[in-house]
Amino acid sequence: MTHAVQKSAATSTLVQCIEVWDVDPQASLMRLTGHVRFRGNLMDFETPGRSVRSGEGLAGMAWHQRHAVVLQESPSELLQQLGTRKGLDLSALVAFPVIRGHEVLSVVVLGISPGPGAFEVWSRDDRDELSISASYYSGLKSFELISRHVRFPKGAGLPGTVWKTGRSQLACNLNHSPGFMRSFAADETELNTGLGLPVGSSAGNCDSVLLMLSSYAKPVARAMEIWQPGTGHHSSVDSAVLCCTAADRIGLGGSPDSCLAMSCIPGAKDVISAAWDSGRPILTASTEPGGSSRPAADDGVSPRAFLAVPVYRSTERAAAVLMIF
């Protein structure tokens, strides 16, 4: 299938701002440790020391509730205020916690701009099936209608596979994929990539799954990758060999067939390594060549920012998800 937008990299991403919040060792406060916002070709990167308590604001809500939160009321006063303050056109905010065992380590907040795509939180219901408990859809009318009535037992579809394996999963070429069960609308909406993250994993069983569905025209991120320890190194996580086991780089000019292409993007490994070693999400901005601390100019192809998020299976690091913007 040929899409004109595949020929050139999509410069604009659905995610327009990112915040990383880390819970302090006493678990009394959560501090903002990383913040990026993209405004057209401009990007701001700062690490202000703002803090919130459990339950305060969106990040505090995700910390308190221990699962992903989607804010998308329209018109939402909070969204409008936030968008005006940051100079962004936001249509939704998504926050998800990074949980190790029973301990919330961090919360990642994504500010979403208008454009075709979806963020879904699939939670276990009283039938032991996953159903949508929170969601944001844009330009996906049929997909939204049907998805609200779809249920996935353990192991079924992308959310059910994440639940069963307790690991993040990346699905590419959704509109051609019989493995993506809701592909009926993927064609019409040009949905390309689905990234599933387990949230609240305990004893190898996750409580909910956050699904990010990305389109060709305006991807969630320019690239998404899953990195995992190589076989035989699971027990020695501090000296693990991490391998890229799934990747989608459509927003960086990759072809739809690049799902498992193993080309390395400069800067990616540093971020993955830092997230793996610290056990917390790491957000960094690309800097100008020559070691300048200023963010690199957006040439439409080079990465602007990296977000690496460790994924835990109970208390052990199972994988790291890399999103490149």
Partner: protein, 301 residues
């Protein structure tokens, strides 16, 4: 029975059916099939021919051995066939030397042996009347049309007041008009009696019309639940109102598209790794060039 038990009235857990193979490992026809039915719920199984729908149904009926997994009905794990489950197949298989009334009475005499003859007769007449055969009770199968014979089969199954009704393409041999008529008859009985029901069908419209939920099965081998669609349409169903519902064709399109996509799985081209959900845990990172060694904080090799 508690509300909680009603919510999980039928629990099908990790149901698997494997057949021995002369070429090595047993072949799994159905693999890790999970489904929970509420009490009084009607659930359709749809999927391509040979995908394993009837295998699931016959395992639930107790007519087909379960390789692994379990089926729990009203809190009791099933062990073989029993009167708590009524089964209706595509062909009603009536005993030709007995009348419609006698065919239905055969089961009633076994299950309601404690009742008086009059009581048993009343039960039989009630259910034959419910399926619209009040005037044809004394006819022999050869004197009945295909649709009427199937009505006898349905009356025979529901007269035993089963906890669960299993319908295996019950309208498969009937013409369209008879099929629609019989669908209405069955729906009327199911809504009235609140019998938990599993229906195997190929017919998307039939599945939407009859069911609370539709379980879409992936293609075999190793068929399993692809996804479950919960239908938002009111009951009792009215065919013309349903067809005019603004969302009807969205749901119908989603079901047809699912079946078409499953068909794609058969073509070798669609089996490319990038065309499926990438099972990260099945990837082989050892062979990949894109590896990174971390050693302690921030160390990169």
């Amino acid at each position: 029975m508690s509300a909680s038990a009603d919510r999980r009235y039928v629990e099908i857990a990790s149901l698997t059916k494997a057949y021995p193979s002369a070429f090595g490992e047993p072949v799994k026809a159905v693999d890790d099939f999970n489904l929970i039915l509420r009490r009084g719920e009607v659930v359709s199984l749809i999927g391509h021919s040979g995908c394993g729908k009837s295998t699931v149904l016959t395992m639930v009926a107790g007519l087909n051995d379960i390789t692994s997994g379990s089926v729990v009905l009203a809190g009791r794990e099933i062990q073989g066939p029993g009167p708590d489950r009524g089964v209706v197949f595509q062909s009603p298989c009536l005993l030709p030397w007995l009348t419609a009334f006698q065919n239905v009475m055969l089961g009633i005499d076994q299950v309601y042996a404690h009742g008086t003859k009059s009581e048993r007769r009343q039960i039989c007449e009630y259910y034959l009347d419910a399926v619209g055969l009040a005037d044809a009770m004394d006819r022999y199968p050869r004197e009945l049309s295909g649709g009427m014979q199937q009505r006898v089969g349905i009356a025979r199954a529901i007269a035993l007041k089963p906890r669960m009704l299993l319908l295996d393409e019950p309208f498969g041999r009937l013409d369209s008009l008879t099929r629609m008529e019989l669908q209405d008859v069955i729906l009327g009985v199911l809504d009235r009696e609140q019998i938990t029901t599993m229906v195997v069908t190929h017919d998307v419209d039939e599945a939407i019309y009859m069911s609370h939920r539709i379980c879409m099965m992936t293609n075999g081998p190793a068929a399993t639940v692809g996804q479950v669609l919960e239908l938002p349409f009111d009951r009792p169903r009215n065919r013309s109102e349903l067809l005019e519902h603004p969302d009807y064709y969205e749901f119908r399109g989603a079901l047809i598209s699912f079946l078409e996509r499953q068909e794609l799985r058969k073509s070798p081209q669609s089996r490319r790794p990038d065309a499926t959900v990438v099972p990260a845990e099945n990837a082989t990172p050892e062979g990949s060039a894109n590896t990174l060694q971390t050693a302690g904080a921030g160390g990169i090799l």
